[in-house]
Symmetry: C2
Amino acid sequence: MRHSRREFIKQLGWGTAALATTRYWGCRGKSPGPSKPNIIVIFADDLGYGDLGVFGNPTIHTPQLDRMASEGQKWTSFYSACSVCTPSRAALLTGRLPIRSGMCSDINRVLFPNSTGGLPDSEITLAEALKTMGYVTTCVGKWHLGHLPPYLPTRHGFDSYFGIPYSNDMDSRGIKGAFADPKSEYWNVPLMRDEDIIERPARQETLTRRYTEEVLKFINSQKDKPFFLYLAHTFPHVPLFRSEEFSGRSLRGLFGDVIEEIDWSTGRILDTLRDLGLDRRTLVVFTSDNGPWLSYRQQGGSAGGLRGGKGSTFEGGMREPTLFWWPGQVSPGLEMSLGSTLDIFPTACCLAGVDVPSDRTMDGFDLGPALFGENPSPRDIMFFYRGTRIFAVRKGPYKAHFITRSGYGPDKEVSHDPPLVYHLNHDPAEKYNIAEQHTEIIEDIRLEVERHRQSLIPVKNQLDERI
Amino acid sequence: MRHSRREFIKQLGWGTAALATTRYWGCRGKSPGPSKPNIIVIFADDLGYGDLGVFGNPTIHTPQLDRMASEGQKWTSFYSACSVCTPSRAALLTGRLPIRSGMCSDINRVLFPNSTGGLPDSEITLAEALKTMGYVTTCVGKWHLGHLPPYLPTRHGFDSYFGIPYSNDMDSRGIKGAFADPKSEYWNVPLMRDEDIIERPARQETLTRRYTEEVLKFINSQKDKPFFLYLAHTFPHVPLFRSEEFSGRSLRGLFGDVIEEIDWSTGRILDTLRDLGLDRRTLVVFTSDNGPWLSYRQQGGSAGGLRGGKGSTFEGGMREPTLFWWPGQVSPGLEMSLGSTLDIFPTACCLAGVDVPSDRTMDGFDLGPALFGENPSPRDIMFFYRGTRIFAVRKGPYKAHFITRSGYGPDKEVSHDPPLVYHLNHDPAEKYNIAEQHTEIIEDIRLEVERHRQSLIPVKNQLDERI
């Protein structure tokens, strides 16, 4: 059956183009399980494709995530919607590309502490969608979708919030050596509960542990209602911190310690679900917002065999180590068809029985068919934006790069005409340009871009207004 | 316990230098299992570190090897003894670096069809060692340690042999497009049984299947005696062939088809052991002779996140995706301490109760302690030879490169003084040279090289005599 599904994947992508935007929605499969399952999304920050044991890391020990992978589904072609924080998070929570919500820009790639914008009220978050079906919702961890009151999680469908409002390296106090020997007091990032600052600077070495405690307390306190829990870890974004217990634990050094604490945290969450008998009523997704921040060398992660990292539209910037887990429901194994964080919104809505908003373009697909072993993912296309512009497009196994640029370096962008074309199934490292042999694919992808552009509506840029 | 063992690894390597060559031998642990277990070594050809699912490959589906990994031990810092075929194989079968047997050269890196040398009779192979304890021995697959009668497997301790005597791309008939669209008749490589050629050219598309059938027949025919089975696959060395059944099977294309057939083969072997109740009396090792042949682009494999490939002394050339499996005995999990194909000889001898030869320098260690969960591997050093010269040395987590060169390219070698130094636990990709901060490590490694050189005895070069 796995093979016939792969046959199907291979055929996919060339007969569906005519569906245009209509293909962008609809529940595809029926969950065989209980209706209204709990939904947990665990979102790492700057974790690379190659940073977990089960994704090939040689010296980071992640037994809990490895176990989650063997009990669940390991996705090897799963993408975030952008290669940097703010737009990636906007996309995850809305199921829409950041270009549609104004949460991307060519000037400021993310929100900063002096930014005045944030996720518009007109956007519908997954928390809001699930609340319509009676879900209790909580957000724990890094938000980064606007830190002014109108933009906080509690204004976007979350009943409660505990975490930091933006990245942990923002609000730097400008102390030298701040990254080499990080101390909490070198930064001034606040820790918030709901809409109040409760600690400043946040004691960063405690965050992963306290997030986990908060999550366990939340899970333990749930009674009859289904819940949606969004745990957005602060790490392994630099500066790297871990609790004393994990200090010096990993062969990989500080970066490994941080990942191993996140691994521990994930294990605690899954164990708690098991202990409470909730494991068969809860879908857990583990993924990351973008690739590893290579500029930070050994303090950044690894994209494994993929090219590039955070900030880049090469695979290393946006392909994420992704796991889906729901014992008894999600069929265990490897899933090689395409998925995206954009798909979490519709997938969750289909499971919860939510009517997805029909007044706007949604960019996600219901991954139910793949999760429950019926069919591969219905996704066959992925747009790789940098800011407001499309740099690359993957369709089926082919990816065309119209513009390339490294993640965060001082390099300038390079335009490609014809675009660079890679066959990502044969060449996931994007080494061998096959544009010359595949002009028909380039034409097809150009048409996709045209179609996609027609679906765009100008919106207010949320990232460039700063005090 | 896993953590205390890792603590131990971290301490390892700096207090043991004084032991010099005396540390190179001795059974380290006691197998808790049955004595004289069967030993199976499955040796892939040119398989890269990143070519299996469980080592992070995104599009090659290896459910059997992934299962073998989850039931057994996955080694993430396990090395072949050389980055090309002939010397690597000589080392595996003798437990000695090729420099000691004359099975390396700076002119011919491997044996060719017109070579007249081979593994000297004075060498003791693992087959010969195990025969002293009553083992039945067989070699199936590629030999490449001399194809003239005095050098064949049957003259080196194997009761029987079925396979090709050297690489499948040798004896080319010079037909254009031979790699792009491989057909058996483009080559003239013979297939042998014992000392006779039984087919020429070997029908290469049948080899993986026929090797597997041969192996299953051998296993099924064993009665009371323990056995040693050395299965040295012909693939994924180019030209790539797979049986009709695997044609077009993999998303990764032809290369993936070939790996998926090897995966199938491995599954058949483990299933047969289970069916016969031999699984608890058999140690199975899966590894490869060297890294991926990157020159062949999509027809070569991938070293995942490691640098370089076949022919190179960077990690990608010699770190191998390695699995040990022995249900009930080998403790399942990740093993991050150092191992080498050199260690298979002494490890097997210790399990079989063989007295290891004391009249010569052995370069292997008994990995028993790591396999049975007592202690990490006793290995703390690895010499990276290219031909007869040491290009690099790993000691503990540090690797010093004195000379570098890419695998098979037209580039020239570059000498480094001070050497390039990488911390392989923090930086397995060998990106960040830390030589300046670690002069004491360089000195220590230079002393190791001196000590090692003192153990070398000039021997006859076996690779440079050609008709």
